[in-house]
């Protein structure tokens, strides 16, 4: 250890691609990390990552940090931030829905201010996916979303696929029953305490509206959605023909768990996400953010 005190750094540079990161306090004291590529194409959307359940912005097993850097290396701006009351962000007053909406708006404002990017892809795991879906029609500039174990609804097909194999594997049924009745400690909270899907018809209508808006959507379901989703075709079973649109891509990874526990699943996620972004939001004539541009940009307003 040298004698020179470690310095405080304004930003960090990541690898040879020239990707950089800065950290910010914005909105009502929310904390976020902004990852930007060496050259920013302001017409390509920025990705916004919402907290996975109660986990801080680096994500379960650091999945968000790695995902953000992979995406930025492909030319997209990424913000991962802690919503009110999560991670490093203080809790603020107001209803949870209001806090979520205001926090998201503040996140978009930050991205616009810092990079000039005015289109956004919202994303997250589990409750983060729910936030992304819920806000996708409430915020201006949403070009799409990527839902990781997001909303879905059981169907007759789901029930049949779920029940039939278990009839010949009673140990699985017993194990599942046991997990259903495990007492939760008062000092621990899990994701299931926080999820609530909108009515199925409303969700389908929302998807239809997003398709009409030319939004692009990727919905990835893993084994973590096992309780309510168990086959790629179930998307059509529960949302209807809207999912046939080329703007919607559904993936089912039954060998992958909810929080990408294994290295290869995190890498696979990075590849899928990046490929999807590059396919739907290819490079445009580059328009780089300059300091002069920053003064004239006005942030989008949230719908009432």
């Amino acid at each position: 250890m040298g004698l020179i005190p470690p310095s405080t750094l304004d930003a960090i540079t990541l690898g040879e691609a020239g990707t950089s990161e800065t950290v910010h306090v914005f909105g009502s004291g929310l904390v976020g990390t902004l990852t930007r590529p060496a050259r920013i194409d302001t017409r390509r959307p920025a990705v916004v990552l919402f907290n996975a359940g109660l986990v801080q912005r680096s994500g379960p097993f650091r999945v968000y940090t790695q995902l953000a850097r992979a995406i930025a290396n492909r030319g997209f701006v990424v913000l991962r931030f802690d919503q009110s009351g999560f991670g490093d962000s203080p809790a603020s007053s107001g209803s949870a829905d209001d806090q979520q909406a205001m926090g998201a708006q503040a996140a978009l404002d930050l991205i616009l201010q810092e990079t000039g990017t005015h289109r956004f892809v919202l994303s997250g795991i589990c409750a983060g996916a729910d936030a992304a879906f819920d806000l996708s029609l409430k915020l201006n500039g949403v070009a799409g979303f990527v839902l990781l174990d997001g909303l879905a609804y059981t169907s007759t097909g789901y029930t049949m696929r779920r029940m039939l194999p278990n009839l010949v594997r009673p140990t699985k049924v017993l194990a599942r029953l046991k997990r259903m009745f495990v007492k939760q400690s008062q000092d621990t909270l899990s994701d299931e305490d926080f999820r609530e899907f909108p009515p199925k018809e409303e969700a389908a209508r929302q998807l239809g509206q997003l398709v009409a808006n030319d939004a692009r959507m990727l919905m990835l379901y893993t084994a973590g959605a096992f309780n309510y989703f168990n086959h790629a075709r179930q998307a059509r079973e529960c949302f209807g023909p809207v999912v046939d649109s080329e703007r919607i891509q559904v993936e089912h990874w039954p060998q992958c768990d909810h929080t990408f526990y294994l290295r290869r699943d995190r890498e696979r996620l990075n590849t899928l996400f990046c490929t999807w972004l590059e396919t739907h939001f290819p490079p445009t004539t580059q328009v780089e953010m300059t300091n002069a541009d920053a003064d004239t940009i006005r942030p989008p307003n949230i719908d009432d």
Partner: protein, 270 residues
């Protein structure tokens, strides 16, 4: 007030969060560095330690939490994580804090597996240190065994893979990609080999009495360390072995409040 930032050298920057009272006065502030717990310990205890840092800051202290290299928001691929690196990053954080103006002697708080880099770093110090260990790991071989067993449970019993068994790679452990030498190095850790400099202050907070800790305390005392145990009377020790709670946030509220009080009472806090 929460202030995120980066510090350290340009080739090994660390992500940190500074907690201090808004509009605090310029008198000397008690300073604390929270050494990050390893792997899932760190993720699970994140909000708990955040809350504790905020509580201490509200009482006039200044607290630094940080992500070691290859963890959290710091740079580096996860596979680069090493015990030596964790130790050195802890020393970097201490040096950063000490270099700030208006701070008193810097204290360290290490929760659970954070005790490993904290003790390793403290044993290298040439001047007295001020260290608080909370539910510390004293024997790395025990922790390594527990973690290997938990990894198997995560793969086979936690319900992650309901359709078919998962086959991990050699680098996978508990959701992280680790170098092959990481776990053996962890298993080699023995707190008994970490002797703090004479004149140091050591406090160990426990939920239940531990003969190994008692012996460790006595050895430190023989070496001229002011060492003692804080017994936490709230029976809130998390069950770290429960496979179904592995990814839950850990927040023993009463104990955390007790820790805040103890840290404030037994330091130079105003």
């Amino acid at each position: 007030m929460v202030a995120p930032f980066f510090f350290g050298s340009p080739d090994r920057p660390l992500a940190g969060v500074l907690h201090r009272k808004s509009g605090g006065d310029s008198s000397t502030a008690p300073a604390l560095v929270m050494v990050p717990p390893l792997l899932q310990d760190g993720i699970a205890s994140h909000r708990c330690l955040w809350w504790l840092a905020e509580k201490l800051a509200a009482e006039g202290g200044i607290v630094l939490r940080f992500d070691a290299h290859a963890t959290g928001d710091s740079t580096g691929e996860s596979v680069e994580m090493s015990l030596e690196g964790l130790r050195d990053d802890t020393l970097t954080a201490l040096a950063w804090m000490q270099a700030q103006g208006n701070v008193g002697k810097v204290r360290q708080l290490a929760f659970r597996s954070a005790s490993i880099p904290a003790l390793q770093g403290a044993s290298l110090a040439v001047s007295p240190v001020d260290l608080v260990l909370w539910d510390p790991v004293m024997d790395g071989s025990v922790l390594a065994s527990e973690w290997k067993a938990q990894h198997v449970r995560q793969l086979t019993q936690a319900g992650r893979y309901p359709f078919q068994p998962a086959i991990p790679e050699a680098c996978d452990l508990l959701g992280f990609e680790l170098a092959p030498e990481f776990l053996p190095a962890l298993a080699d850790f023995d707190a008994a080999s970490c002797v703090l400099p004479a004149g140091s202050r050591l406090r160990i907070a426990l939920w239940q009495a531990d003969p190994t800790v008692e012996e460790f305390i006595q050895e430190q005392q023989h070496s001229g360390v002011d060492a003692d145990v804080w017994m936490l009377d709230a029976p809130e020790r998390p069950d770290w072995d429960d496979a179904l709670k592995y990814e839950d946030q850990v927040f023993p509220r009463r104990s955390t409040m007790l820790m805040a009080g103890l840290l404030k009472e037994q330091s130079t806090w105003a």
